[in-house]
Amino acid sequence: MATPSYATRGERIWHYVFLGLCALIFLFLVGPLLVIIPLSFNAQPYFTFSQEMLALDPAGYSLRWYEDFFTSSAWLNAIKNSFIVGIASTILATILGTVAALGLSSRHMPARSAIMALLISPMIVPLIISAAAMFFFFSKVNLAQTYLGVVLAHTVLGIPFVVITVTATLSSFDTTLIRAAHSLGANPARTFFKVVLPLVTPGVVSGALFAFITSFDEVVVVLFLAGPEQRTMPIQMWSGIREQISPTILAVATLLVLLSMLLLTTLELLRRRSERLRGVSPG
């Protein structure tokens, strides 16, 4: 963004002030995430930079919190639970959500907007309310404190993301491609696997990623619904922050920041692939 040639001096100054402000806001956005990465290598059990760290003395740095994390049975168990719940609920949410999105993108879908509003609502209703409601209801049917209960709850929370991304992908889907495939002699199954699926897959995968990260990062519902056996990683972090705040949390946080970078890259690649397949050039 350059200033136009007719800009006055005052406007130019304002332009640079504006860029400076934006830089500060970006620092506010990303800085906190970057600051914890070096802190997680702290040799001291503190949440702040020690003198040795600031002097770049190797003695000030250590991997002890990572070691702590990878040798602690509580943390490892929590990771295992997070993956079990995350993967199971993602599979459920992706299947149900994709099938529903196929129906929703039909021109003849009755009561489309009302149904859409209902399907999106788990994203809008505050988590604490969903958690309380599910706790009351799941206790009645003996689903509280079970894996199945937590998985079902997380499926509910992941569904809006799958529905939104897949309907968005389908809305830009060119249905003449299906007719073209038919006219070239492909049977319906071949059309589905060779034409429809490759075009829709990026949307489904990014919806699934959203559903997974929602489950993987979810605290409130698990806090209410899960028993001690279903402790997930966010719960372990939650109690770590509340009770004994140790830099192990920072090591976990760093790993999670790296995970989110990985996910973000995957999504970006998917988006580009989808644009390329559709013949939309990225600007």
């Binding site: 406007e11 504006f18 934006c22 806001i25 970006f26 506010f28 956005l29 990303v30 906190p32 600051v35 914890i36 503190y46 949440f47 702040t48 930079f49 099938v99 529903a100 129906g103 929703l104 039909s106 003849h108 879908m109 009755p110 907007s113 859409m116 509003a117 209902l118 399907l119 609502s121 209703v125 505050p126 988590l127 604490i128 309310i129 309380a132 409601a133 599910m134 009351f136 209801f137 009645k140 709850a153 509910v156 529905v163 939104i164 309907t167 990062d217 605290v219 409130v220 209410f224 972090m237 922050i241 705040i245 946080a253 999670l256 920041v257 989110s260 970078m261 973000l264 970006e268 600007g283």
Partner: protein
């Protein structure tokens, strides 16, 4: 026209085209609905029914009518003026005896304790002492516990025989029913909910305003840069969006706490003395800073998607017509971004009033939200009816905002990332 009405168009197998078309449409409607129905069914069972159950629980009042069923029946004809007669006391003694044997008086005594403090111990003590009690029960019960000789007690008992109650909602707005049935304020030291509701709304508005203030320039910058740069900068917005909420909250604890990075930096720079460190966490400041950071992407993304569609030629046209930059911005560009402001604002506000984790971790006492009270009544005080009532009120506020959002923007337009 006349010809087609005389000889209706038919398909190859002789069915009129209209009928055939209608059939095809109906078939595709049914197919579309069948595709959606598994998810709909799942959501109704796993989400709508729990919410409905919670709403029901906020007015449900089964304790007195089931556990004191004999007393309830005996109290039916009572005029509420003088103390009820012997048959009511006898029924109460019988109810309590049955309850004591089944050991299920706990819920009843807690329920009555919400209406009149001291009732928990009254019920428990009376039930334990029943064995030594002989008729006539009226004198015996009043002698055992003077609470039974108060008219209030019986008025409350008679009122609570109703299978549903509004007292949880009244408690959620710091009101209660007097024994005579009037709505009165609770004692001042128990007034917590209304101020918490206001604080939640007020702080959410502050957070929404802050995200708008910080998000608007960023969205503007992203929209006016060429795509290859803006896509790179967008990653800086999306990275926090994708990072675990707990991680972001933890980093703010590390930065803001009194032995944290910011305070250390300020002490090192000599801005503040070592013994006068800023208290920035476990109070309102902590909640507002951390939540502004967490919700900022939800403001930037809708703003950006609106600003992207505003052609730069509008501003150029306005400038060429002689408008000064600020005037052009205020009269031309800003009004065009209002849909984005509405979308981002409502989204951030909805998310903010329902936030639980961050206020609970960094809010301390003064930065607590109403959601923390719901969790408290769910987990600690175990007053689930009150938790359900507060949650229902909050749900109502959120649903109203959601409907406004839906009317203004449309849920279909929600985009992710």
């Amino acid at each position: 026209m006349s010809e087609s009405s005389a000889i209706p168009l038919t398909t190859a197998d002789g069915i009129p085209l209209k009928t055939s078309l209608r059939r095809a449409v109906r078939r595709s409607r049914i197919r579309a609905f069948l595709l959606v129905s598994p998810l709909l069914l799942f959501l109704v069972v796993a989400f709508v029914m729990p919410i409905a159950d919670m709403l029901w629980r906020s007015v449900d009042n089964p304790e007195v009518s089931t556990q004191l069923s004999r007393t309830a029946a005996a109290l039916e004809g009572w005029d509420g003026e003088s103390l009820p007669g012997e048959e009511v006391f006898a029924a109460l003694a019988e109810d309590l005896r049955v309850g004591q044997e089944a050991r299920n008086l706990g819920l009843l005594s807690s329920r009555l304790n919400y209406e009149k403090s001291g009732m928990r111990s009254t019920i428990n003590r009376t039930a334990r002492g029943l064995r030594t009690l002989d008729p006539p029960y009226k004198e015996a019960l009043i002698a055992a516990n003077t609470t039974w000789g108060e008219r209030d007690t019986w008025q409350i008992l008679q009122r609570e025989t109703s299978p549903w109650t509004l007292s949880y909602y009244l408690a959620a707005v710091d009101r209660q029913l007097s024994p005579a049935g009037d709505i009165v304020k609770v004692p001042a030291h128990l007034e917590i909910h209304v101020s918490l509701f206001w604080r939640t709304l007020w702080m959410s508005l502050v957070i929404t305003a802050l995200t708008l203030l910080l998000g608007y320039p960023i969205a503007f910058l992203l929209a006016s840069l060429p795509l290859r740069y803006s896509n790179l900068l967008l990653i800086l917005v999306l990275l926090p969006f994708w990072t675990s909420l707990l991680v972001r909250t933890t980093t703010w604890i590390a930065i803001l706490q009194s032995q944290g990075i910011l305070n250390d930096l300020m002490v090192a720079l000599g801005v503040i003395a070592d013994d006068a460190r800023w208290q920035m966490i476990h109070n309102k400041t902590g909640t507002i800073v951390a939540m502004t950071h967490i919700l900022l992407p939800f403001m930037i993304l809708p703003l950006y998607s609106v600003m992207k569609t505003i052609s730069p030629s509008y501003m150029r046209a306005a400038r060429s017509l002689g408008g000064r930059p600020f005037l052009c911005f205020r009269r031309v560009y800003f009004p065009l971004t209002l849909p984005g402001i509405a979308a981002g604002g409502i989204l951030v506000f909805i998310l903010s009033i329902g936030y639980y984790i961050t206020p609970a971790l960094v809010g301390g006492q003064s930065g607590r939200f109403i959601t923390n009270t719901i969790a408290y009544h769910m987990q600690t005080s175990l007053n689930w009816g009150l938790a359900a009532a507060i949650a229902s009120i909050l749900l109502f506020v959120v649903v109203v905002c959601y409907l406004v959002f839906n009317r203004l923007i449309g849920v279909d337009k929600v985009k992710l990332g």
